[in-house]
Symmetry: C2
Subunit: 330 residues, 2 copies
Amino acid sequence: MATRNDVARLAGVSTATVSRVVNGSSKVTDETRERVLDVIKQLNYVPNVIARSLRTKFSYTIAFVVNDVTNPFFSELYRGICDEANDYGYAALIYQYDDDPKNMTRLLERNVDGIITFLRFSEDIVSLTAQSNTPVFYIGKEREDTGEAGALRFDFAEAGYDMMRYLYEKGHRNIGLIARGTRKYQDIHAGYVKACKELDIPYNENNIAWFDSNKFIVESGSSAMSELLSRNLGISAVVCNSDWVAVGALSAAYNAGLKVPDDISIVGFDDLLISAYTTPPLTTIKTEGYEEGRLGCKMLISHIQGNSMPVQDLKGTIVERGSVKTLNTK
Amino acid sequence: MATRNDVARLAGVSTATVSRVVNGSSKVTDETRERVLDVIKQLNYVPNVIARSLRTKFSYTIAFVVNDVTNPFFSELYRGICDEANDYGYAALIYQYDDDPKNMTRLLERNVDGIITFLRFSEDIVSLTAQSNTPVFYIGKEREDTGEAGALRFDFAEAGYDMMRYLYEKGHRNIGLIARGTRKYQDIHAGYVKACKELDIPYNENNIAWFDSNKFIVESGSSAMSELLSRNLGISAVVCNSDWVAVGALSAAYNAGLKVPDDISIVGFDDLLISAYTTPPLTTIKTEGYEEGRLGCKMLISHIQGNSMPVQDLKGTIVERGSVKTLNTK
DNA sequence: CTGAAAGCGCTTACAG
DNA sequence: CTGAAAGCGCTTACAG
């Protein structure tokens, strides 16, 4: 690899001048600029971002931190992050954190300019990032305080409520819920509860299956659904807290010999690319992962460049496909 | 962030000594070592890997380069890569390349120690990585020459052949194929052709649907399947060149009002995590993505550490699930 | 065993 | 407009 030194020597200028043309500083004669550019091309010179970042403290790279790369919701988010980052000359990468502080340190050591994540960082991680002065941007955070961090916040409670209303209007009265146990009294569940109250549906803890894993979510969804079915509650529909969970639920229904939506309706949340290709195609709430990725990344970069860290609220819309049956409620 | 200088000052030693204890060099008294370690802990000092890599030329990070993060096969590979890399003290990340040389340069500028990929790099990318002296390791490459690069090579032709034999034994005689158009006369198709010859099945170009995208592969699979069905060939089974494609095929069959496997059998290739949760669960060939990731990463790191670049051959095994019907062949 | 010094590839005030 | 010099946080022969 040619270095800036080689370029300077061959072009007969100082390294400072090479820096100036590389960085587009204007204080260079057209003539020298051209000469330098020629040499750069000739030597196939690529500036060393690592060295620059040591000097400037900016690495022009942002990391999307996840716990389960295997979840397509993250991949879709990442595509948006990536495209936006590239537009700004940044590199964007996915990094698996796996709930291990050591892995977070490993990332921080590498001087990323900012972190985007869908996770809720624990106290120690928040302090780790703060210590290293790395800004964090949350995507999909609930509408709670985000502290120093920026966020695209999603009102999961409202989404859950909307979905319940939707099912109610389709004639469903006995509805199950599959959700993350660790957020028991928050988000979608809160919407579920509110809807029950408002729509005068009796609330029954038994109608809910909590799962609790960060591993393969489809499997969690499938187990939860089996569990729900085994309780024999006469449920006519199930709300899943994500499409990826719903894919698991679909599978459990199939294995139980149930036809969706004829025997039971299932709805998800996210609208993944895959959700139009399940059997049957999934009715769900669209959250625009790709666009969220772009927007979140744009906000983070703007902050890195010196602006304040923004927080913005988001809403989803129901997309109807083939996994809900309209019941005759007479 | 505390730097090595702060540590040196507070511990009353030179920065060289701090380096030596950080890097575990033995030439330090137990007493000074302890003193330095104390200060490190006290200051919460984290060595700057970026600065070190400028000096040593090793960044202890390896990149898994993909074109479509959205494909779960890659995520599963990455998990293996990641776990293995971490065991060696390396960081592993996913990077989207998107067939754009500019993106490759962006990655190379950041001094990764090595690249793992499932893609076939084009000439210009091969020369880009060579220029920057970044070793490349291919996973899932066919059994062709890999040049300077290391590889885990998979015999796709054999796998295609095996799958055909399997279907033949189940009584299928009129079998379709969905595969990548850009490798028309290679891999799985070669196995398909060979099987036709050996099993005395007439080979018909019409039985094959080529697709040609790097975008959302499920969609490609779905279109290809629709295309195949629209040709009215009386096909009883379809071989897909990956499970993710098969998921699309499953969807197209469903939309055409066909039941799998009763009306038509569909098989995939890879054995993704999701493949046990499709409707119906997919019969496929297992390629052990996670293990391949680990193994490939181990081989790459061994090369980075000075050993020669290895090439190893892999085989898959059929896993039977619910997407193939046994026909009565009398 | 330990330190002073040079250097990795860059940037950026400071002079001129 | 351009160059010499210092410095980003590290490592590593070279002395002692």
